[in-house]
């Protein structure tokens, strides 16, 4: 962690700006650009600050970066981006991508993403990532030159394919199961939370009606008038307070969302392992059958039923030369296969080792982050209650003066 980029460089996504431009299909579109500022952290105590470098990026470029990372580091749980479209909204919250609140929350999410990558021991060393932060022009070309796009397509296909692994690694199976459950439970939580927020909003806002009616009532009263009027004012304050409260809660929701998407990334790693395992098993199986074929041809015995065997029985045996040729080909293939299998095994073991290391790192990070998120959520609730107590105590005082 000492060498990670985050320690050497300050990274912020400081601004968001609306832009219009022409896209790939030459159609006018509006999009938001984000300003990334970086500054080298100097260890000198001279007081000299390094200059701030900055460049603009839009969301799709962030996506490109992430896809590159996913393909290039399949054994890493790659940090997720903030959501593309506003999801889990309650009625007051806008689902519009151009809404300033949404843009602001996205800006924070993007900064968080960059910081996560920059503090990852492996990812932070990536050159493309570094270029993303420092090189405005030509970055896209640089990414495409790595040729990752091809791998990206096959990766997507593989992620969605169904296949059965004969000897799955129990740890990865359990982990995949966990990530599925986590995704399910967090989305359920976020959905209900949105409904809860909606209802709470309603409760607070109706209290505002008290303000109006108390005011009207106070107009016809003599001694009770002042008390009613000021109490009404407090009701208005109460009704207005919900907006800030719920805005703060959105931050909590965003933290949960990050881990919702993280769960997806975790699942992808497990899938990758499954894929490799399947690949390995297929290759091993292939090798075994070739060896068998070779043996059969060499000894002339048919151990297993094969169509070739049947046809050769029906239509006559092949010539010894033909057989020799076949055996030669097979022996070459077997040798190739054995080498491939060896390297695949090695790859597999390396993958498991590095993936598992990253998974442990991720688990620790998750536990730490979520604990903090829950604590801050509790603190938010307490503060909301304290405000409630304050308002009603004030109202009570007004009533007592009636």
């Amino acid at each position: 962690m000492e060498d990670c980029l985050a320690k050497k460089m300050e990274i912020t996504v400081s601004e968001a700006e609306k832009r219009t431009g022409r896209n790939a299909m030459n159609i006018q579109e509006t999009y938001t650009a984000y300003l990334i500022e970086t500054r080298a952290v100097e260890s000198q105590s001279e007081g000299q600050c390094a200059p701030v470098e900055s460049l603009w990026r839009r969301y799709s470029e962030f996506e490109l970066l992430r896809n590159y990372l996913l393909v290039t580091y399949p054994h890493i749980v790659v940090p997720p981006l903030p959501e593309k479209r506003a999801d889990f909204v309650w009625h007051k919250l806008s689902a519009d991508n151009m809404d300033p609140d949404f843009v602001e929350r996205r800006r924070i999410g993007l900064e968080n993403f960059l910081l996560r990558v920059a503090s990852h021991p492996v990812l932070c060393q990536d050159k493309i990532f570094y270029a993303f932060l420092t090189q405005e022009s030509g970055w896209k070309e640089m990414v495409n030159e790595t040729g990752f796009q091809l791998k990206a397509d096959s990766r997507l296909k593989a992620l969605n394919a169904t296949f059965r692994v004969k000897n799955p690694d129990k740890r990865f199976t359990e982990l995949k199961h966990y990530s599925d459950e986590l995704q399910s439970v967090i989305s359920h939580l976020l959905r209900v939370r949105a409904r809860v927020a909606d209802r709470l909003y309603g409760v607070y806002k109706v209290h505002g009606n008290y303000g109006r009616v108390f005011s009207e009532w106070s107009a016809i009263e003599k001694e009770m008038g002042d008390g009613l009027q000021s109490a009404g004012h407090h009701m208005d304050v109460y009704a207005a307070s919900i907006d800030d409260i719920l805005e703060e809660e959105e931050h909590y929701a965003d933290q949960l969302k990050e881990y919702l998407f993280y769960a997806e990334a975790l699942r992808a790693v497990c899938r990758k392992h499954e894929l490799m395992q399947y690949d390995l098993e297929t290759a091993a199986q292939d090798l075994t059958s070739k060896k068998q074929q070779c043996e059969e041809l060499a000894t002339g015995t048919v151990r297993t039923f094969s169509l070739k065997g049947m046809t050769s029985k029906l239509f006559g045996q092949e010539t010894p030369e033909q057989r020799e040729a076949k055996i030669k080909v097979l022996e070459e293939q077997i040798q190739e296969g054995e080498e491939q299998l060896k390297s695949k095994n090695l790859e597999g073991r390396d993958f498991v080792k590095s993936a598992w290391a990253d998974i442990e790192r991720f688990k620790e990070q998750k536990n730490h982050d979520l604990k903090e998120a829950l604590i801050s959520y509790a603190v938010m609730q307490i503060s909301m209650c304290k405000k409630g107590i304050q308002v009603w105590t004030n109202a009570k005082e007004c009533f007592s003066k009636m």
Binding site: L189, V206, W217, I220, M224, K371, W392
Partner: protein, 370 residues
Amino acid sequence: QDLSLPNGTPVDTSSPASSSSLLNRLQLDDDLDVETRDLFVTVDDPKKHVCTMETYITYRVTTKTTRAEFDLPEYSVRRRYQDFDWLRNKLEESQPTHLIPPLPEKFVVKGVVDRFSEEFVETRRKALDKFLKRITDHPVLSFNEHFNVFLTAKDLNAYKKQGMALLSKMGESVKYVTGGYKLRSRPLEFAAIGDYLDTFSLKLGTIDRIAQRIIKEQLEYLVELREYGPIYSTWGGLEVELSEPLEGVSACIGNCCTALEELSEDMTEDFLPVLREYILYAESMKNVLKKRDQVQAEYEAKLEAVALKREDRPKVPTDVEKCQDRVECFNADLKADMERWQNNKRQDFRQLLMGMADKNIQYYEKVCVT
């Protein structure tokens, strides 16, 4: 034309200024502090009675007094809603110039509200207790004979049957003929009271609706909260290190649910009934105002008739005088009652709204502790 009664006092067709003298007389009776109070009434101990014909609830009415009008210092009788209703009617009949406190609603839609549920019985008991206490506090009503009998008679039904034959010893029961007299204009101060009552009932009605809406929203919030809490528990089951904090959150939310439920219940049982009671009160007060108008109209009509027939002066004036008396009495009583009512109302609402604030505070405190 200038008119004057046989005794020389000039006749005033507008609101009698002489009522202020009556007011002064009545104000002496207004000093009913706790120390000087000599009559205490309580309603408690509801009991269910099951008979062949019907099932009903009776309440125990306990009286403690040092007044001479009562034979014993203490009484304890059982009464049912019907009896309270009878009492109120009797009071309205015998003291039509006074504001009689309201009773809780008589009819309840069967099937919607359970007449025998604990909450309903308790709410009704509180309202009946308030009803009797208000009468007790009234300097005139508390001495009413029917009230006395209500508090003391072992067999109220026997008395009820005699009702028509018995004449009150304290004063004649004033009968009001709705002789179709139309009042030209309501005097300013009573018009003001009328306007006030109209706006007052309106505002209370609005507050009632708002409070009901809040309770409804709170209950819907509660529904969602009830689904929300257990999800954290489920999540806790998935995790190892995080399971404790997650379970904790789940439990907290559960506690919030309970606290919220209590708040809604309290509002429904304590706050709303009192609001409704005051709306009923305002209604009955408006009726009294109308009756007052009737009396004044009769008085004015008779006065006019006198003004036209100069010869019949010796006979009619006594009639007119009686009318004038009545009007003045009425006005005075009404005004005195209004003042008292305003005071009490102020205190009642003070308590009520403070109570509401308190409940909310308690709710938040409970949630905080969690």
